[in-house]
């Protein structure tokens, strides 16, 4: 049996030693020999112990030792994989434990000594706990001070206290000839002892250990008094203590709160639980493979959360084996109790088994979110010397008791509580295993997709993401470095708002976020290739490159013209909706996002916001153009000719007209009075339909995040207050589609930012339009609007508008496009500038539209 355990652990160590090379996709064999150290230490200790017990305890239980040594070895290797420093310490502790094991093995009257001096052991334990109040420390420097420091070695006295308490209780109850004769006489002394030990721990805020003590005490009471119904006390007490603790202790309250919903607040303590579930899901059924996962994303993975670390790298197969071995230990332990020759041996073996069972249930249940988290260790596996040594000694006691069996069975009544406890733990372990399976498989994809899962950042380092190109092939974003240190570099940082960032700490944005599946190789890559990478490397394959419709010359010009002004420019092909340029200022540099994060977040001008797509600006006087079609359709006569009044009352309009230096056109220069008159003269039902057709109340179908659309205005609202149209919030990308509609004979195309992706066959695969162009206006009507807005000197049309952001900050709009005389592809543009700047808007708009001819 032990041979299979040795082989399994050797293979685990061997697999770990290859992991580094695997992650780097190395052609040559790279072996990290350090993983053989914990294996060899384990092998030496285990074989040494095995030789001795074979000689001294030939009739021992055959399962306890292989099971526990297997768990210990698995723990040592996993700890080393997570932290070689702690792994080394754990290996030393293991040897110390083996040494103590051999000493205890050779102490002839050990069990008798334990029983005789039970009070000595108990008070020794309690004194140690008491000492932590005086000279207690925490190895991490902060938090509960549960440790004692002895010559640079940290000892947690609550660990040996658990065993000492079991010895005391077993000894005490074994001395009672008829434990159920007098409650007062037999129960009271133990109640005092357990109560005071519990109180000490509660005072230390070590509530996990305290609840463990109490549960353990009740289980022992159940078997010694042969009263099965005492078992109900545990859930009842848990409820009462939970309710009281919830209001009395902050620790309990936060633990319970995050237990109830770890996803509500995933920043603080809940982070750990959320990460634990994600880690289990990442492992799935067979695990990522030893050394290939990222279990260290779960804080304190080496001790409290080692179960999830095993779950991630060895999967459900690994955790099921752990649960099975723990259950085997518990079942065999209770079996040893039942066939023990002495009453003390029976109670002691039962107490030890119940302790393993309870502690495993507490911490694994806590890890998986089934129970509130209690910071107890997972027996044999978790990092922690005091715990490991205590457990090793407990195993020795079990083995010794197992050699002294009684030939007769216990009477039925005495057996029954043991059998009940065994049954209950079998059910609990099955439940834990089922829930573990649920997290690992049916719920897997949901958990992996959580925003809190940072594993993509690791994948990016080892497997290159796709790069992003402009239409003419210029690299906008490229991958630099080599396997293990791949990093993204943005060559055109002015486009950062649109390209986005992918930064481990701050997440992903823009195209890096929206095109993640493609860039990361999850879609567009043949299934076999993805599957092979997943299986061999636990990485997605190299991502696919994508090409945008961006014309870099136009883009740079737009950025240059917009300069330091706050606002957005977006230029599209009016027929296809292809976005040629998209500028949003102020911007940021995605390459230095980590260094500048805090200052970027503190800035009031929102540099991370993509104003072109996420900006929400009031429509203002541009409403006149949008309403013009419905005005004509409503058959209302309305003179659009120059009215001096319009200009006198509207200084912006006057200024715009002067800047343009062209004929007086109140419509073209966004005089508010014209907009108001247009809106007032329109049939509300037709207006509503037109505004909807222009896409004012729906989010544009764009590859990156857009602002939430304004709620649609009802016919009644429009009837009562037609001017409310001017307050509708729109984004520049919505307005450029309005401009495109007017340019493109009344047909509204869908905006298209991403042009194509580079397929594995070596060709650029174009994305078709996300939807066909929709008819908004009749051809005549769009021509009529263009005529109203036509430039005197150029083959373009445009309208300038203005509005007040939040009724105070000025905003200048510009929408425009090419006229049918234009020789090349029709263009449309929208500009929003967060200041009163008709000159700038005119300059940017006219320059970009005219520049497009030469491109």
């Amino acid at each position: 049996m032990l041979l299979l355990v040795c082989i399994t652990l050797f293979l685990y160590a061997a697999a770990l030693s290859l992991a580094t090379g695997t992650r780097l996709h190395s052609e040559k064999l790279i072996i990290s020999a350090e993983y053989y150290i914990p294996f060899l230490v384990w092998l030496a200790g285990t074989l040494g112990v095995q030789r001795n017990i074979r000689r001294r305890l030939p009739n021992r239980d055959p399962w306890i030792f292989p099971a526990t040594s297997g768990l210990t070895g698995l723990g040592m290797l996993t700890i080393w994989r997570l932290s070689p420093d702690l792994g080394l310490k754990q290996s030393v502790w293991f040897l110390v434990g083996c040494g103590l094991f051999l000493i205890a093995l050779n102490t002839t009257d050990l069990i008798k000594i334990l029983k005789t001096y039970k009070y000595v052991w108990l008070f020794l334990g309690i004194i140690l706990i008491g000492l932590t109040f005086v000279v207690g420390v925490n190895p991490t420097g902060t938090g509960q001070r549960l440790w004692l420091k002895v010559f640079e070695v940290y000892i947690q006295p609550s660990e040996p206290l658990k065993l000492l308490l079991i010895i005391y209780l077993a000894g005490f109850f074994a001395d009672q000839i008829r434990p159920n004769v007098s409650w007062l006489g037999s129960i009271f002394p133990t109640l005092v002892v357990v109560g005071s030990a519990g109180l000490l721990l509660v005072a230390q805020r070590d509530l996990g250990t305290a609840s463990l003590f109490i549960s353990l005490y009740i289980l022992m009471l159940t078997v010694t008094t042969q009263r099965r119904r005492l078992l109900w006390v545990i859930p009842a007490l848990a409820l009462v203590a939970g309710a009281v603790g919830y209001f009395a202790f902050d620790v309990v309250r936060t633990r319970v709160d995050i237990w109830v919903n770890p996803w509500l607040n995933t920043s603080g303590n809940a982070w750990q639980l959320a990460q634990a579930q994600i880690a289990i899901a990442s492992g799935g059924l067979t695990g990522t493979g030893p050394g290939l996962g990222s279990p260290q994303f779960v804080p304190i993975a080496v001790s409290d959360f080692i179960f999830t670390a095993i779950g991630e790298e060895l999967g459900l197969l690994g955790t099921s084996a752990v649960l099975f071995l723990l259950l085997l230990l518990v079942v065999r332990g209770i079996k040893i109790a039942l066939s023990s020759k002495t009453t003390f041996g029976r109670y002691l073996a039962f107490g030890i088994s119940a302790y393993f069972a309870l502690q495993s249930t507490f911490i694994i249940g806590g890890n998986l979110g089934l129970l509130p988290l209690t910071g107890v260790t997972l027996p044999f596996l978790s990092y922690g010397g005091s715990s490991l040594v205590t457990n090793i000694i407990a195993v020795l006691l079990l083995l010794r008791i197992s050699t002294e069996t009684s030939p007769q069975d216990l009477p039925e009544k005495a057996r029954s509580p043991y059998q009940w406890v065994t049954g209950i733990f079998v059910v609990i372990f099955l439940l834990i295993s089922a829930w573990n399976g649920y997290l690992a498989y049916p719920n897997q994809q949901k958990l992996i997709a959580k925003a809190e899962n940072p594993r993509w950042a690791v994948y990016d380092r080892y497997s290159p993401r796709g790069e992003i190109y402009a239409l003419s092939g210029e690299k906008l974003v490229e991958v630099q470095g080599e396997p293990g240190s791949y990093a993204l570099w943005v060559n055109e940082p002015q486009l950062s708002n649109t390209l986005g960032y992918a930064q481990p700490l701050y997440g992903q944005s823009g195209l890096q976020s929206s095109q993640y599946e493609l860039l990361r190789g999850y879609v567009g890559v043949p299934f076999e290739e993805r599957w092979q990478h997943e299986l061999l490397y636990n990485q997605p394959p190299a991502g696919l490159d994508i090409k945008l419709n961006i014309n870099l010359a136009l883009q740079n010009k737009a950025d240059e013209l917009l300069g330091d002004h706050k606002g957005a420019v977006i230029l599209v092909n009016a027929q296809t909706g292809e976005i040629y340029a998209i500028a949003s200022h102020p911007s940021f540099d995605a390459n230095t996002i980590a260094e500048n994060w805090d200052s970027l977040m503190q800035r009031t001008d929102a540099p991370l916001l993509n104003r072109a797509t996420q900006g929400s600006y009031p429509l203002g006087s541009l409403a006149s153009t949008l309403a013009y079609g419905s005005l004509v359709e409503s058959n209302h006569a309305f003179d659009l000719g120059p009215t001096q009044d319009s200009f006198r009352l509207d200084p912006f309009c006057y200024r715009a007209m002067q800047v343009a230096g062209s004929s007086i056109n109140a419509f073209q220069y966004g005089c508010e009075s014209v907009a108001e008159e247009t809106l007032n003269s329109t049939d509300p039902a037709i207006l509503k339909a037109d505004l909807e057709a222009f896409g004012l109340f729906s989010a544009p179908d764009l590859a990156i995040e857009t602002a939430d659309p304004s709620p649609a205005l009802s016919v009644e609202q429009l009837d009562q207050n037609p001017l409310s149209v001017m307050e509708v919030q729109v984004s520049p990308v919505q307005m450029v589609m309005v401009a495109a509609t007017i340019t493109n004979n009344g047909m509204r195309p869908a905006p298209a930012l991403v042009n194509s992706y580079y397929s594995r066959e070596g060709t650029w695969q174009a994305f078709g339009p996300s939807q066909a162009a929709q008819v908004v206006l009749s051809e005549n009507l769009s021509e009529e609007i263009q005529d109203n807005l036509r430039s005197d000197t150029q083959t373009i049309w445009y309208q300038i508008g203005h509005a007040l952001i939040n009724q105070e900050e000025p905003l200048t709009w510009y929408i425009g496009g090419t006229t049918p005389e234009w020789s090349a592809a029709p263009l449309a543009i929208a500009i929003a500038i967060e200041e009163e700047a008709p000159e700038l808007a005119l300059q940017i708009g006219n320059t970009l539209l005219n520049l497009s001819v030469s491109n």
């Binding site: 049996m1 299979l4 355990v5 082989i7 399994t8 293979l11 685990y12 061997a14 697999a15 290859l18 992991a19 580094t20 090379g21 695997t22 780097l24 996709h25 190395s26 052609e27 040559k28 064999l29 790279i30 055959p62 399962w63 292989p66 099971a67 297997g70 008829r178 067979t286 695990g287 493979g289 030893p290 290939l292 197969l317 690994g318 084996a321 099975f324 071995l325 085997l328 030939p407 007769q408 069975d409 216990l410 009477p411 039925e412 009544k413 299986l535 061999l536 490397y537």
Partner: protein
């Protein structure tokens, strides 16, 4: 190279791990079914119970280690008397002794003058009173 070797090692690791677990399950199963059989072979001193009901002498001999006494027809020893509870008491053999325990009967069980509250050891020629009924115990010692 690393990846393929690593994958092979992983698979072998799981094979070996589950070979261990499988062996454990198999051997445990064998030991459970085996111990049942062995349990039947433990020698028990033969128990004979004698009672008189409505003038009829009734003598029964038992080979099991657990004998239920009561008025219910499914009891091993049926005492057809109104003062006897449905499941009145039980005789069990453990720790090399035959024990009698009262199963919280209405009218109680008595060993001569002693009311039986706790399981007690019974010996050859003891008489147990269950309500108004009485039965006598004969134990044939082991060879």
């Amino acid at each position: 190279m690393n990846a393929v070797t690593g994958l092979a090692l992983r698979i072998l690791m799981f094979v070996s791990l589950y070979a261990f677990l499988g062996t454990a399950v198999w051997l445990l199963w064998k030991s459970i079914t085996g111990s049942r059989l062995r349990g039947g072979t433990i020698a028990i001193p033969t128990l004979t119970l004698a009672t008189t009901i409505n003038g009829d002498q009734m003598i029964q001999t038992y080979t099991s280690s657990d004998v239920l006494v009561g008025r219910n027809p499914d009891c091993d020893l049926v005492l057809n008397d109104e003062t006897v509870s449905g499941r009145h008491g039980r005789l069990t053999y453990h720790l090399n002794q035959w024990w009698y325990e009262d199963l919280k009967s209405t009218n109680g069980s008595w060993l001569d003058d002693l009311k039986i509250e706790e399981p007690i050891v019974v010996k050859d020629n003891d008489s147990i009173y269950c309500g108004d009924a009485v039965f006598k115990i004969y134990i044939k010692p082991l060879q």
